[in-house]
């Protein structure tokens, strides 16, 4: 007993830390070589960037008239994409929660699908959907919808698994049907969380929708290429400023709403 208390805990191995450090350093060095990073190019590029910034200011205020409608399209894409995603997320999140579905086969497969959906970034999805459906809002909406399903369903099934079992057991004991069980036992508990996740996904989708136009999926992103291609940087700046204003405003209201919900 006495000998035990006198024994100091072993210090963590220095070698392991040093080894990790060397490996990370090596990976970073490899990355720098692969990307052809060079301080020289960065420093010689700084005057270019400075010129660019000078040309961006002041922003072209008159151009706002041209981009208000595409901006509204962007918001519409985000609303439509989030809504479609939210609808499909409901059954998927129930299938993925291990207290809703008994069979591990079902929920593991549902989770695998959700993970798969979230691996592909929305801009890539949009590029593929543009190749399939042609230019316009539809590919953008679909890309956002696919991404939203993955995110909303993941967040929802994780909170589904933590709901209070009391009301559920009470309902089972009085002989409620499966539908009643969900409508009166599960929905009231999960609904505020679900709406909050939908709003959160909407915030992300507005940001994403603002750049989907770069691959031809409609919205304000289309105008980046237009203005940059003609070297009209003051107009590019107008687009950036309008996007920032809209995103910050939507974030603000959405966050306020979410605080009210939870």
């Amino acid at each position: 007993m006495n000998a035990q208390t006198k024994q100091l805990p072993k210090p963590p191995g220095k070698l392991k830390h040093a080894l990790t450090f060397v490996i990370v350093l090596f990976l970073l060095w490899g990355s720098a070589v692969q990307t052809e990073a060079s301080f020289g190019r960065l420093i010689s590029g700084i005057p270019n960037m400075w010129d660019l910034l000078k040309e961006m200011f002041p922003p072209n205020w008159a151009y706002f008239d041209n981009i208000v409608n595409p901006m509204l399209d962007t918001i519409r894409m985000a609303i439509a994409g989030t809504t479609i995603g939210a609808i499909f997320a409901i059954p998927l999140s129930i299938l993925a929660a291990n207290n809703m579905v008994r069979s591990p086969w079902v929920y593991q497969i549902a989770r695998f699908i959700l993970n798969l959906l979230r691996t592909i970034p929305d801009l890539l999805l949009a590029a593929i959907f543009v190749a399939i459906f042609g230019l316009g809002l539809i590919p953008g909406i679909l890309a956002l919808a696919v991404f939203s399903v993955g995110l909303i369903a993941k967040l929802t099934y994780e909170s589904l698994e933590t709901i209070d079992r009391g009301p559920l057991e009470a309902m089972t004991s009085v002989g409620a049907s499966k539908l009643q069980w969900i409508a009166f036992g599960v929905v009231p508990q999960i609904l505020p969380h679900f709406i909050s996740y939908v709003l959160y996904t909407f915030e992300i989708n507005v940001r994403a929708a603002a750049v989907l136009g770069l691959v031809g999926a409609g919205g304000i992103g289309l105008y980046y290429e237009k203005t940059l291609g003609f070297l009209e940087y003051d107009k590019t700046n107008s687009i950036i400023l309008l996007t920032l204003a809209v995103v910050l405003a939507i974030d603000y209201f959405s966050t306020k709403l979410r605080e009210k919900l939870l």
Binding site: T35, L42, V215
Partner: protein, 257 residues
């Protein structure tokens, strides 16, 4: 109770109006007739991928594209992890600092977060020319927003005890930083950096669309030239890479926690 019912109806009406406005103008008729055929070709491409493209002895192939993507993500994450530290300490609220100061820091960080990385990449391409380096710089600058916020929260949650104890024994500022601050915040910082790396790998796959390096360039090329089997193998490559990185990074993050 009555007020609540009014509020509920108001919300329902507002929602209906928003949805009418959203779907009123969207034309669902403009879909290409070939849509079904192309979808089938892409799915076929995913199940019978162009395996030859995985490794080509000379030049652009899948493995090199993916390696490039990972390199962009790693370098970008490293740049932001270093650059965001001063921002984090600026934005962290503490007792001996004015609220306005930390509030300003938080605002700057949220401003950086809002600026889309792909637009940042467009600007960097103008500065350093197209290629992976521009992509890494864009990711590095954009990630400061999120990493700075997470780091500053880590600093705020730090236990003040060790710092006060060291100050009481007369330690210098550098000693306080080295023996009290760094040991407390380092695991959190590393964990968040790994998390951001996972996000950056996803982001790096799209940078190629605008010419900032990575696997996105061959993908957009295969899409425009209608090489559907190549689109299939590239998608497969992205899915496998992202999943593997998530697994590896998740393992290390669990060890850190």
């Amino acid at each position: 109770m009555n007020r609540n019912r009014w509020l509920r109806w108001l919300i329902v009406i507002a929602l209906v109006l928003i949805y009418v406005w959203t779907f009123w103008d969207i034309r669902f008729s403009g879909i290409k007739e070939t849509a079904g055929k192309i979808t089938r070709s892409i799915i076929q491409g995913i199940f019978s991928p162009d395996w030859d493209y995985v490794y080509l002895p000379d030049g652009e192939d899948l493995l090199r594209g993916l390696l490039d993507t990972l390199a962009i993500a790693a370098l970008g994450t490293f740049i932001s992890a270093v650059l965001c530290i001063p921002f984090a300490f600026w934005a962290a609220a503490s007792r001996n600092k004015s609220k306005a100061l930390s509030g300003a820091g938080k605002f700057v960080l949220s401003f950086i977060r809002t600026f889309p990385e792909i637009v940042m990449a467009l600007l960097f391409i103008k500065a350093v020319g197209p290629g992976s380096f521009a992509g890494a710089l864009a990711l590095g600058l954009h990630s400061i927003g999120m990493l700075g916020k997470l780091f500053s929260e880590e600093v705020e949650n730090m236990d003040a005890g060790p710092t006060e104890a060291l100050i009481a024994t007369g330690a210098s500022r550098l000693q306080v930083l080295w023996f009290a601050v760094i040991p407390q915040v380092l695991p959190g910082f590393l964990s968040y950096t790994l998390y951001r790396f996972e996000i950056n790998v996803r982001s790096a796959t799209i940078l190629g669309i605008i010419g900032a390096g990575g696997i996105g360039t061959p993908l957009i090329f295969a899409l425009t030239t209608r090489h559907w089997d190549r689109v299939g193998i590239i998608l497969l490559g992205i899915i496998v890479t992202v999943t593997l990185i998530d697994l590896i990074s998740g393992y290390f993050r669990r060890k850190l926690a």
